[in-house]
Amino acid sequence: MVRTLRFNREIMDTLSTQQYSDLFLKHKDIFLGDEPKFLQEIRIKAAEKLSTQSFPAKKNELYKYTFLEPYFNNGFKKNIIPKPITFDICDMFRCDVPTLDTHLAIVLNGFYYDTKKLLITLPNGIIYGSLAEAIKQYPALVEAHLSKYITTDDSYVTLNSAMARDGVFLYVPKNKSLDKPIQIINILLADEELMVQPRNLFIMEQGSSAKIVICDHTLNDNKYLTNSATEVYVASDANFECFRMQNEHNEAVQVSHTFIHQEAGSNVRTNNVTLHGGVVRNNLYVNLAGEHCENTSLGLFLTDGTQQVDNYTFIDHATPNCNSNQLYKGILDNKSTGSFTGKIMVRKDAQKTMAYQRNSNLLLTSDAHANAKPQLEIYADDVKCTHGATIGQIDENALFYLRSRGISERESRLLLMYAFAFEVIKQIQVEPLQIRIGDLVEKRLRGELSRCNNCAMYCK
């Protein structure tokens, strides 16, 4: 049950990008040590780049509505290597969605956690498990993809590239399908304030298909800072679906970066539901690199208190004949802030592009803030692109209609809020998961889910 440690753990306070690159240099032996050459190069390049970069300043266009630098400068402890924690997975989680049968992958404080095996190979050749372990066992495979799909100069991503040490690896060979979803549970559980930087790499070969469920959780009240990066390579005609549920406490700060590279004829769906979190920033970069791709990106965020949730998407139509569809909805209560920035880029010659984007926000109080920044940048003429954004409150006519049928005002409001959210929920294509998430969202709206410590799918 207890993982043995190979290194002493490192604790350090840092103040800027420079300090992070200093930290890197100081522990070069750990970061570079016995890593393969390609990875050393990636890290050194990133560390060098980082020393020339700074974290986005206040009002920086890319992070206009979420200023993160203070969190990166406030002295969170950093585990360069995992700290030993004994915990019994069976004790902690029990599935209450019996029909949702998954392969389980647990990431504890940014490091893959397993008591038996760090890398599992299924009978049909599908491999999943620890990225660090995959680097050892399948360096060529990792080398072909790692850090190949990063399409931004965002210094937070550079930081992750330099310092991330583990995360989840998935490889689905040509024409193979994952029999059941892989469920990644990111757990934060430490006895002090902690910063973690996991890195995930999912490789979907031609014609393959897989579904992934990711749940982000904090298991105690300590402050946490997560700076995670995920790269997804989706080869031609492959199908990839990723559902993510974020359920962290109010003191947790999370920045997640997801890079999806799609080859011709591939189909990707992502759905990100933020139930809880202190400060959450999700960056989604989709590169439609081959023709006839489909991409659907969905998001739902429910905020209250002083929570801040900020979703950023960049859909890059680099080739003709691709379709993309985005829907992000937010319900904002109390003094919380919800933001959405979505950019659709249609490159020159990406003709016959169809791109849709919609962002709707429901404001429940006059102290809640909503920001929307939908953007179109288009360099091809034979395209159909639309975006829409609305900010408003519950429709008074609908409210009256429900009340005139004898439903109380509170219940009517809840029904309407739920209906608002349901547009996103109904697109979750794993039915038991859809039902489960629907229940969770309803509980959340009723205020009955103040903070779910455990994984949504494995609640006690």
């Binding site: 803030h369 003429d381 159909k384 975006h387 829409g388 408003g392 409150q393």
Partner: protein, 482 residues
């Protein structure tokens, strides 16, 4: 089908700029370059009172501390401010007693532009203030307006005749600290129009300023200040042209509008500065700060613009909705062709309760041009029941141009209702086929469709201007769109 369209689109680029002639008018200019002495010299040339010089110097000193802004979607070549003439004026008598005294070449110039200086010739009843290079040359219908208490004159005149009004309002809506070009303008502005509508007066005719850059190597920096007192109404038009020159010329204007209680200001612009040639050589850099404040309750400011000219256009006519029940509107058509770049839009700042705003923006891109809408709708915390509706459409003609939409929406009040919609598309082949099938040529069909596409905005313009604007659209997209 698409081949035919390509042919037609090629013709688009052959549209000629017909206002590109140069008039041979004796012009007084000061030496190139900008420093504090130049600012003093401008003030001196204009015989300004002390407060104006102070205003200019403060602005100039502030400008010196600023850097030229960088925008992600505009490619702006370095501007050498020491290579620009900041003051150019047609050499003329201080005041024309009658039209006969006006330089015949000057009159000919404006006849050629279709702007009659002769009041008898004006059927439409538009009062015109004509600004050539930096100087107001003639204001028509002044006496008629004076009977109603309306002040409509050049800015230079206003500074001397109505210093109290100028002092009270100049720089209150666009302070010189606002942005780089507003600071520059505040330091060196040469002339412009001034207008004051007294309480309860409905201005009986359209007021109009016609701007013309004629001299070479000059920058034009005009300043417009328009005040509509309680329960007054005014409709104001602005038009502009410039000769064809190979070098770029800078135009950095500031327009300030102030609407008091229940006042309404309608401000229309047809911007047709020289856009540069087919290869992107020459053309005006048009960096304009336009802003209005709905100060009093129930006031209304409506901006309408048809932007067809300039090599680079950078302007965001905005409304500060300070009073309760105020209304801000922005209607825009921006056409870019060849290598033109346009980055335009609006800001609607909802501060007062029950304030409403409406944004309708239509962009048309052709050639290798780039056309962006950039806008902000902000609802402040106390702006109860704010309403906004925005519609931003882009039409692409050809595959080498770009169309972009960058709206920002920031809401701090739950009772707000904000809707934004944007679409980007090309003219549907089925639409063209439908017209073809009814016997309409492809060229005419494109024209019809474009006209329909911009109608919502053109309809906002006063009659005479609407006709003018439609002609301009035709010229800008000559061959296919007309």
């Amino acid at each position: 089908m698409s081949e035919i369209q390509d042919d037609i689109l090629n013709e688009v680029t052959s549209g000629e700029y017909k206002y590109g002639f140069v008039s041979d008018i004796d012009t007084e200019t000061i030496p190139k370059g900008l420093n504090e002495d130049v600012v003093r010299l401008i003030s001196l040339k204009k015989n300004e009172p002390e407060f104006m010089l102070e205003f200019r110097l403060k602005a100039f000193r502030f400008w010196q501390t600023m850097k030229m802004p960088k925008w992600p979607h505009l490619k702006i070549p370095e501007i050498n401010y020491q290579d620009i003439i900041f003051y150019a004026a047609p050499r003329q008598q201080a005041k024309y007693a009658s039209l006969d005294e006006v330089d015949p070449e000057l009159r000919a110039t404006f006849d050629k532009l279709g702007i009659p200086l002769d009041e008898q010739k004006i059927l439409s009843g538009v009062a015109v203030d004509v600004v050539m290079d930096s100087i107001s040359v003639k204001t028509t219908f002044k006496e008629t307006l004076a009977e109603l208490g309306i002040i409509f004159c050049s800015m230079s005149e206003a500074v001397k005749e109505y210093p109290d009004l100028v002092k009270k309002y100049l720089g209150t809506v666009v302070p010189y600290t606002d942005n780089y070009f507003a600071a520059l303008n505040s330091a060196v502005f040469s002339d412009g129009s001034f207008c004051y509508i007294p309480k309860g007066v409905r201005c009986p005719m359209e007021l109009s300023t016609y701007f013309r850059i004629n001299a070479a190597n000059t920058g034009q920096f005009e300043r417009t200040l328009l005040i509509a007192d309680d329960e007054s109404y005014v409709s104001y038009l602005e038009g502009c042209t410039a000769p064809m020159r190979d070098e770029n010329q800078l135009h950095a204007a500031v327009v300030e509008l102030i609407a008091m209680e229940r006042a309404e200001i309608k401000y229309s612009t047809v911007q047709n500065w020289y856009p540069g040639d087919k290869n992107g050589k020459g053309g005006i850099f048009n960096f304009v700060t336009k802003r209005g404040i709905c100060k009093g309750n129930y006031s209304k400011i409506s901006w309408t613009q048809v932007e067809t000219g300039s090599a680079i256009t950078w302007k965001y006519p905005s409304c500060i909705l300070r009073g309760d029940h105020t209304t801000g509107e922005f209607y825009s058509v921006a056409v870019t062709n060849n290598y033109q770049q346009a980055d335009t839009g609006t800001k609607m700042m909802h501060i007062g309760k029950n304030s409403k705003s409406r944004i309708v923006s239509k962009g048309i891109s052709a050639g290798r041009s780039n056309n962006s809408y950039r806008g902000l709708v902000k609802v402040m915390k106390n702006a109860e029941n704010a309403r906004n509706f925005s519609q931003c459409d882009s039409l692409l003609l050809g595959s080498k141009c770009g169309a972009h939409t960058f709206p920002y929406i920031e809401v701090d009040n739950q009772t707000a209702k904000i809707e934004h919609e944007a679409t980007t598309s090309k003219i549907g082949e089925d639409q063209i086929f439908y017209c073809n099938q009814r016997g309409i040529s492809t060229e005419d069909a494109v024209g019809l469709i474009v006209n329909g596409y911009v109608r919502e905005v053109i309809n906002q313009l006063p009659m005479e201007f609407a006709v003018e604007a439609q002609k301009l659209l035709q010229i800008s997209l000559e061959g296919s769109v007309g």
